[in-house]
Symmetry: C2
Subunit: 405 residues, 2 copies
């Protein structure tokens, strides 16, 4: 077991045990936020045929050679095609067909003129300028050509991607199954939100915060409930959770004051503890243990500490598990809005929100930064890093920030 | 009916008919992404009791008056309190109690010292400095005090808010019901993704893109299917959709070339058309009509045009309907990454994505900007505004951009 390692070392240790979830075929309409388990490659052109960009008349460009205001060319309109229909006839010399925006260009025609640019006399139109071959016609495959890669395996399905797949005739999509992740809350002091509070007891908030974050990540949470600080009880519940879920998360019991119940439970189960404690603040107390390829990640019982470790260490792991290729958080540079007065002997992550001011990204603290203060996770969309052995950070200084979920 | 109005005028016209959806009580675990229909006010303190910030011993501060390395004070340890339990005894003169991080401060005690800072000899400890009243003790209500407003009505429920509500004992939450929004796709040329494609036909992508966006907004889509370009058919389907849903969206049939089938269907139904066409590009062809307080919003059939109008005009309306107080899009200033070479006689919105470079927000085009090109909605998270009567825009110029869903 390694102890007091860096965040990056911890990630690398757990990434070695990251089973991909299975794949399943879903109907297109049920793919929002799912992760592609196949490349989406165009099997059709968009548009599927050459089409008109506006309401007008199509004809042979060569028939307009030499045409001018003074010397217009006359065409016989042989057909009028409604939207959604194709011309019955091909266009021959001296003929034109009236079509609408988006309509397929009839055979023989290779130029289009707007309604308002011709003079109509009964079934005849006159065109007073010369056109070139293909002029203004939208060629088949202009937006998307057969063989184009639209979205790679591991991409999250968004609304416009659903639309694109629909336009390409892709009705069934291979996606990764939603993984199941179990949540165990340890602590003799914990009461569920539905229970009355007794002296010395506090409410279990971590289970609900984690349920929310897991659902946001497209994961099905399996709530195992509250467990006493007894290694045998924890071990029984972890074993049961491993049967039901792909990953088990615990909160509490990972620091010395908690009697290290999670580490002892892992030993008791014969699991290998990969590491204990990482060098960040908040969120240092945590561990990962593995048995038969199944992972247990133990988070702090302190709400803010738990969520910072969850975001920085566990979210990339979960995203990787769900099949996402972009599983690492996005790092950006931000400018600190107000002084942060405390020194940072250890590598520290500040909770904050992004503000956009004059084309700049400003980071504003979301409040009190204590280990236990969940309130400052409200509205928090970035964690800004202060390197170890730093003094106070002044307003206007630049920090690297990690965009969180 | 007003014609060719501004985006803002169009919004103001439809906002006048924006029925709020009903309210319902949900269990806390089922509130993610729902909109609060009540203020969340703390009815308890967090922490609920004064507690110790670390593993240590508590005692009366006054007993340490004059204590020093040379002249330590000795306490009798009368009890050891496990996590989650409260002391059985009060602390009197000369007494101390051993407690763990987070444990409630026993009656009588008003100072705490860390384990590692005392000398233990059997049941006695010696403390070698003077403490002040309340020193290092976390007072009840330090994070959240009874009466604090945690989240206002109209706020979206996030994971940390779920956790905070759990910690405050709020098991049932009043939220707005998910509205139902119907989607009708008009066009003789449309085929569903599951149907074979015939000459001159194209696939219906708008219905799937809209389903995705609606689900992202927490709305239940009601898919009414494809309708021919015939006002009577459209009218029947709109009436049916109004019965099933709180809002009806159509795509197609809103420009002259489409025979204006939506406007004629609205007239046929006796609905009042509020406006037809707005002055933006893409997405100019659109309309809104109302009958008996129910709204019909007609979007373009061109995929990109439809989605730009949907994002700019319809999303704020839908958010308002769902009870959100932050229903207007967030506007930020961005710096254009590459030249946009076309002039913009009309107010134009460019599709792009935000890049963060050196603390700046850069906008990169997501591709071809044509009315019909859905592909550039992929990865699009902002729409950047170019004012009307603008020339080409150069790389490095600043634009106002609207953050979209």
């Amino acid at each position: 077991m390694q102890k007091n390692i860096s965040l990056e070392e911890a990630q690398s240790l757990i990434f070695d045990y990251c089973p991909l979830t299975e794949k399943e075929n879903n109907h297109l309409a049920d793919t929002l936020d799912r992760i592609l388990a196949e490349d989406i490659v165009a099997r059709e052109n968009i548009p599927p045929f050459s089409r008109s960009p506006y309401d007008g008349f199509v004809f042979r460009a060569e028939d307009t050679a030499g045409a001018s205001e003074a010397n217009p060319v006359t065409f016989e309109v042989i057909e009028e095609v409604p939207a959604g229909y194709t011309a019955q006839n091909a266009v021959s010399k001296g003929q034109a067909i009236k079509i609408l925006t988006g309509a397929p260009i009839p055979e023989g025609a290779d130029a289009v003129v707007k309604f308002e640019e011709v003079e109509v006399q009964g079934s005849k139109i006159s065109v007073s300028k010369a056109f070139m071959h293909g002029e203004d016609i939208v060629p088949a495959g202009e937006d998307i050509a057969v063989g184009d890669l639209i979205a790679a395996e591991g991409t999250v399905v968004t609304a416009p991607l659903m639309g694109l797949m629909a336009s390409l005739g892709i009705a069934e999509v291979l996606v990764y199954k939603r993984p199941k992740i179990a949540i165990i809350s340890t602590g003799d002091e914990l009461r569920d939100v539905t229970e009355p509070l007794a002296p010395g007891k506090i409410r279990n908030s971590n289970s609900y915060t984690l349920q929310g974050y897991l659902r946001s990540l497209g994961v099905e949470p399996v709530v195992m409930g509250i467990c006493k600080d007894k290694k045998e009880d924890v071990a029984v519940l972890v074993e049961e959770a491993w049967k039901q879920a792909d990953l088990v998360l615990t909160t509490g019991g990972v620091s010395v004051g908690d009697y290290d119940v999670i580490r002892h439970a892992a030993d008791y189960l014969g699991a290998e503890t990969l590491f204990w404690k990482i060098e960040i603040k908040p969120g240092s107390p945590c561990l990962a243990a593995v048995k038969d390829g199944k992972m247990l990640i133990g988070l702090s019982g302190n709400p803010a500490a738990a969520m910072v470790t969850f975001q920085l260490m566990t979210v990339p792991y979960i995203k990787k598990m769900t099949g996402r290729k972009d599983y690492c958080y996005r790092k950006i540079e931000v400018t600190l809005k107000k002084d942060f007065r405390k020194p940072s002997p250890r590598r520290r992550f500040l909770r904050g929100r992004m503000l956009y001011e004059n084309s700049m990204v400003i980071m504003e603290s979301t409040g009190e930064q204590g280990n236990g203060v969940l309130r400052s996770m409200l509205g928090c969309d970035i964690l800004a890093e202060i390197p170890e052995k730093s003094g106070p950070v002044k307003a206007g200084e630049k920090l690297t920030a990690y965009i969180i979920e």
